[in-house]
């Protein structure tokens, strides 16, 4: 590419745009048959912290004829210069233009990155609409959590990878290379063929018709050979599957600048609001031996002095005790800090506490999610107040004086009594501190952090309406009045952001127009406070004739066709319906370790799970 050194010197954090980090993969272009630009529609600092992207980058580059490179969204100062000097978006490793690649992949982590993703296509000088891209344009691929309902961005993408991608994307690249080699490649033929691969959804191969009331009348494949349901991919055995042990070492500070060690996928709990808890089923664990080997290898390859054990709920990891023993044996002498995020209060033990005390960590975080037992039962949190009190007491005895508690406002069936329950629960945590004789001599702070409930596809709450903006704001103010103790700090999320999330989470293809228009109006980085503009979004919806209430605030019937019904996550609809009904009766469902509830995910297979195997 051209020499842009003067531009780099004129923008903030130029290290975002230059690559050159230790661990980046450079290949000889002559040996390559498939070039993939892996785009993350947010800044370098956020994208570089994403474990999924690290995994896929490594997995794809492990194929000799494939070269996968990284692309992040340029910050607005850089975008301005790129547009001024007509410099198309480039990939960090080769610095070649993204539009010259074979496949341009996007990791779609959250709904508010959609405009940024589309803007990146525009910056790459690739037409944003799939229907307007020619045969020569790269194949635009999407994946990540948002792909479980990718309908709002269906107009922009050629194909989506559904579920875990480390094996699937390699298969897709292989298909691409073989069709290129035997001369059968046209983009149309490739996409049709790819729709036969397990775990790939090609939105242009489906027809959607709507009823007069705006609901979906039919959603069907255009051709017989195209599957009517796309089943998600999973990795059966995490002990033998690929895991990156030589990650790229960023120079500039990124959000998660440490060893991230994946311990298991899925979650035994089945909280009814949680999409991750449903879409990552079944639970599959890595054994302690694998974990320890991978940790040592990454440490030797990186020099990181912090290891974070990642999962959806680390204290549910059945090898946790064995794994932390193995790790601490060498991490402590090497001055490596071990951290365990995502702790559950009811499985927080003295043994675990003692281990964490030996490693520096100032405070602890728990997520009761709701303030009363009734509501915790309704959302199937399966957490009792005595467990929380027991956990905080252990923490106080262990010298901690900071506790962070996560809650949600606007959960289905929530009443003002439940909200008041948040304040009183936090107060009882403060009281517990003063009733702990061996408490530390520091002042206590309890931080209460309250987000707004967003109904998510593929959860038992997918049919539930979100509270209106007014209701959410009123609830936030109500809680602020109920929290009087000055030892309790209260944070809440911007309800307008949650509302927009709800619209896109449960959106359908008709939202594509709004996203395209928003991009044209210069909107991007919606997840950033400084760029989020709710009123502008409402104008965009208005201009496109879209009523956001239809998506966010409508109770959906069980028999309505949902935009994401085309995706099969392995969990049956009948299980979702039964869970939804139980929520309204505040009846809990046991976790997967206690008893199989027959959600259906065991049909997907998977080793080292609690699922009863299908014979």
């Amino acid at each position: 590419m051209q020499d842009i050194s003067s531009i780099l010197k004129s923008v903030s954090k130029p290290g975002r745009y230059t690559g050159g980090e230790y661990g980046q993969i450079i290949k000889n272009k002559e040996d390559i048959k498939c070039r993939i630009a892996f785009c993350f529609p947010d800044t370098y600092e956020i994208g570089m912290s994403n474990l999924g992207v690290r995994l896929l980058y490594g997995a794809l580059n492990s194929v000799p004829e494939v070269w996968c490179e990284r692309v992040y969204a340029p910050w607005t100062d850089m975008e301005e210069q790129m547009r001024k000097y007509d410099i198309p978006l480039w990939a960090l490793e080769s610095r070649d233009e993204v539009n010259k690649f074979d496949i341009v992949a996007f990791s779609l982590q959250y709904e508010l990155c959609y405009t940024t993703a589309i803007n990146m296509l525009d910056l790459a000088k690739i037409p944003i609409l799939a229907s307007e891209r020619g045969e020569d344009a790269p194949v635009i691929l999407g994946g990540g959590p948002c792909a479980y309902n990718a309908e709002p961005v269906a107009d922009f993408f050629d194909i989506f990878s559904i579920g875990e991608g480390e094996e699937a994307l390699v298969e897709l690249a292989n298909l691409y290379m073989s069709m290129k080699t035997d001369g059968t490649y046209t983009k149309t033929a490739f996409l049709r063929e790819a729709s036969h691969l397990k775990g790939f959804y090609v939105p242009s191969l489906y027809n959607v018709e709507y009823n007069e009331d705006g609901t979906i009348k039919s959603f069907a494949p255009k051709y017989d050979d195209v599957p009517s349901k796309v089943e998600k991919r999973i990795i059966a055995d995490l002990n033998t599957s690929y895991f990156p042990t030589k990650p790229i070492m960023p120079f500039i500070e990124v959000v998660h600048d440490r060893i991230m060690l994946e311990t298991f996928r899925g979650c035994i709990r089945g909280c009814r609001f949680c999409q991750a808890g449903m879409v990552f089923r079944p639970v599959r664990e890595k054994n302690a031996q694998t974990l320890d080997c991978q940790a040592r290898e990454i440490f030797n390859n990186t020099g990181y002095t912090e290891i974070s054990l990642t999962s959806l709920s680390i204290s549910d990891y059945s090898c946790l005790s064995e794994a932390t023993d193995k790790l601490l044996a060498w991490t402590n002498p090497n001055k490596i800090n071990l951290s365990l995020p995502s702790l559950r209060a009811d499985s927080f033990t003295r043994e675990l506490m003692n281990k964490i005390s030996s490693i520096r960590q100032s405070g602890l975080t728990f997520a009761p999610e709701a303030g009363t037992q009734r509501l915790r039962d309704a959302i199937n949190k399966n957490l009792y107040e005595k467990d929380l009190m027991n956990a905080v007491r252990l923490a106080f005895e262990g010298g901690k004086s900071q506790v962070k508690l996560y809650f949600m406002n606007g959960l289905p069936t929530e009443t003002y009594e439940d909200i008041e329950g948040i304040a009183s629960l936090a107060k009882r945590v403060v009281d517990e501190f003063y009733q702990t004789p061996s408490r530390p001599k520091k002042p206590i702070t309890v931080t209460v952090s309250v987000s707004c409930f967003v109904p998510k596809p593929h959860t038992p709450f997918q049919w539930e309406p979100q509270n209106t903006l007014e209701e959410l704001v009123d609830k936030q103010q109500f809680l602020a009045e109920k929290i009087v103790d000055r030892k309790i700090r209260y944070n809440w999320h911007e309800a307008k952001v949650s509302r927009l999330e709800a619209v896109f989470s449960k959106g359908d293809r008709r939202l594509g127009r709004a996203i395209a228009l928003a991009q044209r109006k210069g909107m991007r980085f919606d997840a950033w406070d400084e760029f989020f503009d709710y009123d502008k979004w409402m104008h965009v919806f208005d201009e496109c004739g879209i009523n956001p209430d239809f998506y966010a605030n409508r109770r959906i019937d069980y028999d309505e066709i949902l935009p994401w019904d085309v995706i099969d996550i392995g969990v049956s609809k009948s299980f979702m319906i039964s869970e939804n009904k139980k929520a309204h009766q505040s009846i809990t469902t046991p976790n997967c370790k206690e008893k199989c509830s027959g959600c259906g995910a065991n049909k997907l297979g998977g080793d080292l799970t609690w699922c009863p195997k299908i014979k």
Binding site: I4, I7, L8, G20, E21, Y22, Q81, F251, T302, T305
Partner: protein, 228 residues
């Protein structure tokens, strides 16, 4: 644990160039700590509550400047041959950084008083008189505003310039300039560019066709002999 005065002090001379010029001194320092760990160099840690590997750099390299002469000192807990250190570090360095020399130092890092720079400027506005104009410009008092902790300050950069020679070469300007460096008196070479930007028409603001590079060539002691 080995106490600080028992350890072996080692100096590493390295270069940092290309896209790594955009990496700040603080980011480099953090990167170096990780490099020492992954290179398996048994480096001495500071004592105290939060032990840190002790790495001391000569004059910090500003963002946007490349260097052929960076120095850092480390202390070893256990013996390792100098050649072994060099090999291990080069294996663990990113592509655009290279260890040039590893040795036991005789001079102190704070003996650096000047740094010799080579600056190249590319611009369509350069003509055969430019070099002479620049030399004339920098032979007089020349004021630029410098960002300090307490806001912007006008400084006369002539006081910080020991020598300044400019020539034209294939349409580009090449400047060799020795500037004050170190904790007492220090000039960021970027301010030379700032002065040129302010006092000449070489830079019109076209960021694609107007470029410059700044390279640290050598660190010098107060008697102008090379630092080692």
């Amino acid at each position: 644990m080995v106490s600080e005065n028992q350890v072996i002090q080692v100096r590493i001379k390295f270069k940092k160039y290309g896209s790594l010029m955009y990496i700040s001194h603080l980011d480099l320092a953090k990167t170096m700590q990780r490099i020492m760990v992954r290179a398996g160099i048994d480096i001495w840690y500071s004592e105290g509550f939060n032990p840190q590997p002790k790495i001391v750099f000569a004059v910090p390299l500003p963002v946007g400047v490349e260097s052929e002469c960076e120095y850092m000192d480390i202390k070893l807990n256990s013996f390792m041959s100098l050649d072994d250190i060099k090999k291990r570090l080069n294996d663990s360095f990113p592509d655009e950084m290279e260890v040039l020399e590893v040795y036991e130092p005789e001079q102190k890092l704070k003996n650096v008083v000047y740094i010799d720079h080579e600056i190249e400027i590319f611009s369509p506005q350069i003509n055969q008189n430019t070099a002479l104009e620049l030399e004339k410009l920098f032979s007089n008092d020349i004021f630029v505003s410098k960002k300090t902790k307490s806001g912007e300050k006008e400084i006369n950069i002539k006081e910080f310039i020991y020598s300044f020679i400019a020539r034209e070469e294939n349409g580009k300007i090449v400047i060799n300039t020795i500037l004050c460096a170190g904790s007492d008196k220090n000039l960021n070479p970027e301010l030379i560019i700032e002065a040129i930007r302010k006092n000449t028409t070489i830079f019109s603001g076209d960021l694609l066709n107007e470029r410059y590079s700044i390279v640290r060539k050598e660190m010098l002691k107060c008697d102008m002999t090379p630092f080692k």
